[in-house]
Symmetry: C2
Subunit: 582 residues, 2 copies
């Protein structure tokens, strides 16, 4: 139907007759001559229709936005060159225009932003815009580059099932009623975790998959019901084998896709250090603010919140110095306190030192002059600075002070340009869940502990460190992985410590325990969030921009109208019914 792509017509074709297909980006009549910007996926070319071509001219005069055309014409050098586009030196003098499909008046135009709901409803129109085309192509290029990298290094792309077994451990499963087994259900995988471990047991050695995963969780701005991860697993490896390989991969891919040079060696940081310095297990190292622990310095103060938490075995008192922060207004400080409160802060103490050295602080009065001076000195507070203090349980303080650090850093323009990747390692093996009164796994129940000795793990479960690791980029956890447990006795022990009894373990994970029994190699792996990496590469905050057909935060597809009610007869076929509302 066409001889060339619109966006690729150039001077080499001058004098030739071409047939083009595309959309009417805009059609206008200037001084009796019709000009059509004809657009396809490669770009735009100018089609010119002169009035002496009467039949063609009559067609051109009737064109509207987004009409789909087939145009035949001769390529000619253009009088007024447009340097902004590849085809800007030429035009096509139309000898024939066929309207392949007339477009109805559009609900909105490319240059408008009618709001995300309308954009999602008419996703096909939104995706036509150059900005969305660019974002989608960044994702396409990313996935292509990853595959080529992995294929070239002996990784095998292997499919794992979408209809699989429910594993109530972890996030909430999506359920699929089984027609052939009344009262039974498949579940959609939260990740191919167990299958990829099984593949290592099966001798596949190096596995990858660009895998669709599903979590029925509350949707936040950066979450989707279904998401895509680059899932990888390696047999016969230790941490550094996995880390060095995928670090090189990420570096190569950023260079290839967006021409970014990431650090030749990613910094490494233990979880404990990341929490201490940045109040986060995914610190954004582009921001040069750090937390400081000041419990020792404030434990003698009269301020009860400080003195109490300073003595508490699980307490933390952290300070965040904000250079030039003395300029913050009362309102700004209140807003920061409100922000910290969202992350668990009960209050936010501060000290301001004016440019003239004048102290402004609700807590100054609780300190002796010496102690106050020592505190100021230790924190390194200069004239014109401000410092925020958080006190409370260690993890709570870390969370809200970490969130505060991010917000202050962004608000005060302290986010350096560029890219800051790092490895976070040595995660705690378990977290104590107060509500459930049991341990939960910080990574997942298949993560190996750093110790090999079962008795040691049992004795020191509370402080045990795992062989998990995360790759962090600009404050986003873009990849998470671990060395897995490969011995059935260790796996059973970890299940037990997680409060999963032998019977329950057998029912849920019996096949894994079996597989570990029959010759499982040491193995480990990692999974990268494709949606997030694509968003970072495309320079957008929203992963919805790099997912072709995303769902809203209320879990709907505004284009197709999913989810939707289903006739009761159809539900009967799969042996379920809608539950009466209470």
């Amino acid at each position: 139907m066409r001889t060339h792509f619109c966006g690729l017509v150039d001077e080499a074709l001058i004098g030739q007759t071409v047939t083009l297909c595309g959309w009417t980006d805009v059609a206008r009549n200037l001084g009796g001559v019709c000009f059509i910007d004809l657009r396809d996926h490669e770009g735009i070319v100018q089609v010119t229709v002169e009035p002496d071509a009467a039949e063609v001219y009559a067609v051109a005069e009737q064109l509207g936005y987004e009409d789909v055309l087939q145009v035949e014409g001769v390529v000619r050098a253009r009088h007024s060159v447009n340097d902004k586009i590849r085809t800007g030196k030429v035009e096509v003098i139309a000898s024939r225009i066929t309207v392949l499909n007339k477009a109805a008046p559009l609900p909105f135009h490319a240059h408008e932003n009618p709001g995300e709901d309308i954009r999602l409803q008419y996703r096909y129109l939104d995706l036509r815009t150059p900005d969305m085309q660019r974002k989608q192509r960044t994702r396409i290029k990313l996935v292509q580059a990853l595959r080529r990298w992995l294929d070239g290094r002996g990784f095998q792309d292997i499919e794992t099932p979408i209809l699989t077994k429910a594993t109530p451990e972890g996030a909430r499963d999506f359920l699929v009623p089984a027609r052939m087994h009344p009262g039974e259900f498949y579940a959609l995988p939260q990740s191919p975790q167990l299958f990829k471990q099984i593949l290592m047991v099966a001798g596949f050695d190096r596995y990858y998959q660009i895998a669709r995963c599903f979590r029925d969780e509350a949707l936040r701005a950066d979450r989707q019901l279904e998401f895509t991860q680059l899932d990888m697993e390696f047999a016969f490896v230790e941490e550094r084998d996995v880390q060095d390989t995928v670090e090189a991969m990420i570096r190569d891919i950023f260079k290839e896709v967006v021409d970014v040079d990431l650090a030749a060696q990613f910094p490494r940081m233990t979880w404990a250090e990341a929490m201490r310095r940045f109040g986060s297990d995914k610190p954004d190292l582009r921001i040069d603010l750090e937390l400081q622990d000041v419990a020792e310095l404030v434990k003698g103060s009269e301020f009860k919140v400080f003195s109490d938490w300073a003595e508490h075995p699980e307490g933390r008192i952290a300070a965040l110095r904000v250079p030039a922060g003395a300029a913050f207004s009362r309102k700004q400080i209140d807003d920061y306190a409100a922000h910290a409160a969202k992350y668990g802060a009960k209050g936010l103490a501060y000290i301001k030192i004016g440019d003239d050295g004048a102290v402004n602080s609700p807590i100054a009065k609780f300190f002796s002059e010496d102690a106050f001076a020592a505190l100021i000195k230790a924190i390194g507070l200069q004239n014109g600075d401000l410092v925020f203090f958080g006190a409370g349980k260690y993890n709570v303080v870390s969370d809200f002070m970490g969130a505060l650090r991010l917000k202050v850093g962004k608000d005060t323009g302290r986010v350096a340009a560029g890219w800051a990747p790092l490895w976070v390692t040595d995660f705690p093996m378990f977290e104590w869940d107060e509500d459930a009164q049991r341990y939960v796994a910080l990574h997942h129940p298949f993560t190996a502990p750093a110790v090999d000795d079962i008795a040691d793990l049992r004795a020191n479960a509370k402080t045990a460190v795992s062989r998990g690791y995360d790759m962090v980029l600009n404050g986003n956890e873009i990849g998470g992985g671990s060395i897995r447990i490969h011995r059935p006795d260790m796996q059973s022990t970890v299940f037990e410590l997680l409060g999963i009894g032998a019977e329950e373990a057998e029912a849920k994970f019996g096949f894994l325990l079996d597989a570990l029994k029959y010759g499982a190699p040491p193995h480990g792996g990692i999974a990268f969030g494709i949606d997030r990496i694509a968003a970072l590469m495309a320079g957008t905050d929203s992963i919805r921009d790099v997912i072709p057909f995303p769902k809203t935060t209320s879990a709907q597809c505004l284009m197709t109208g999913a989810p939707s009610p289903i006739a009761d007869e159809q539900l009967a076929e799969v042996h379920i019914q809608v539950r009466p509302r209470k």
Copy 2:
């Protein structure tokens, strides 16, 4: 953990110390020396432990099948060379053996075939066998080659949703209850059909996806609940653009993956010709038997079945000549009749001509001598031959005579070696469904009719031909596609002819009709069955052999135990309950 792969140790390494990891394929003590066949994904190498290495020897003596080892040793030239394996000229003299994971006694051994159920339950052991490794790798290689081919030609790999809208047209959907929308459901896609059409409307031009698809249908030997297709769509194309591109792709891929040269040009056949000559829309051209229409020749006979159907406007009387078929026993003929009956035959007439020319036929008596001779002559029946006759409705006769042709062809060794691809084209647009008293789409409701004129399509719906096409290989439909409808008025008309009222069309497919309205390019595409192509390439009849974790014909995963019962509280969260049994 290792310096080399077991299967790649060769003479170049003689004298060097290597560290290997792998499985104990077999360990045996011959004349006081321990020999271990150490296996990894690349192959096997012989590890030798001499008694003077007392500590290592003690370990080696205790090894059992599938123990996972790390072995350090020096590579040495081997006395007795084994030419069958790549490592056959060397052995590794072990200086250290570490048992990384001891294997329990296995439920079965690689050389045994304990039956498919056991193999599926212990899939990880089954996948370790060289035969299964080879089959899985054929699939991996196929997918890799397809992607490389498509990436190199401007096709864009784009993801479409797995949680989408139910479309009751077509096969039965898998349903997923929506937690955030009580009483509503997502459905898993039967194919990305509508999304890929939408992508063309969105301007993506050339799309592909290795897409997981889902159909909740009765499982036959060659069906799975979830299956994988190479899904493709092209904007601004006609049939031959699609066909020529993908024909070249399939040819290149067969050459690359299995070194097979497919025909330089695939034969093309209309649906009508395929049904007439082979009784099938996916004829296996490797079999040199063909059907012949004999209604004209038998309409004067006294055999009422023949004379009735010969006059019937929808009747067919087809003959299948079987060279040397006179040797069939009465029992064999009965078996063939039973086989044809499974496909709808009410009976199967035949004529045998002995080597001596003697006629043996239950129907001979119904013919005049002249008519009988004319029939024999027209069919080309020789001494020693047999001919089967089928009479009835056109499609029914075609079906069972086509099935008979396949069976006779296979039983009598008339399946030529090699590969027989072809295109089948010009499918009927609609089939009349007697039960529902309405038309159903032979491809799907989005397939364009050959005529552009709506009035013409309405007037001649019964005989209308579609722009659909199938690629057939050795009797398997490996790909099916069509030019799609791109005009909203034509799409509405086809919905109407299929008995989908305006309101229903709007509710189910409103977003498609909208998309066609706002500038949809002419477009078309195709989808290839990856599981089937991989099975053909791997030389297996069962697609289960090329799916890493398949389900049984009763829709179960014997390894994980999916599907499984779910606690009622969990069902309550998604607002459903199991229906009481009646």
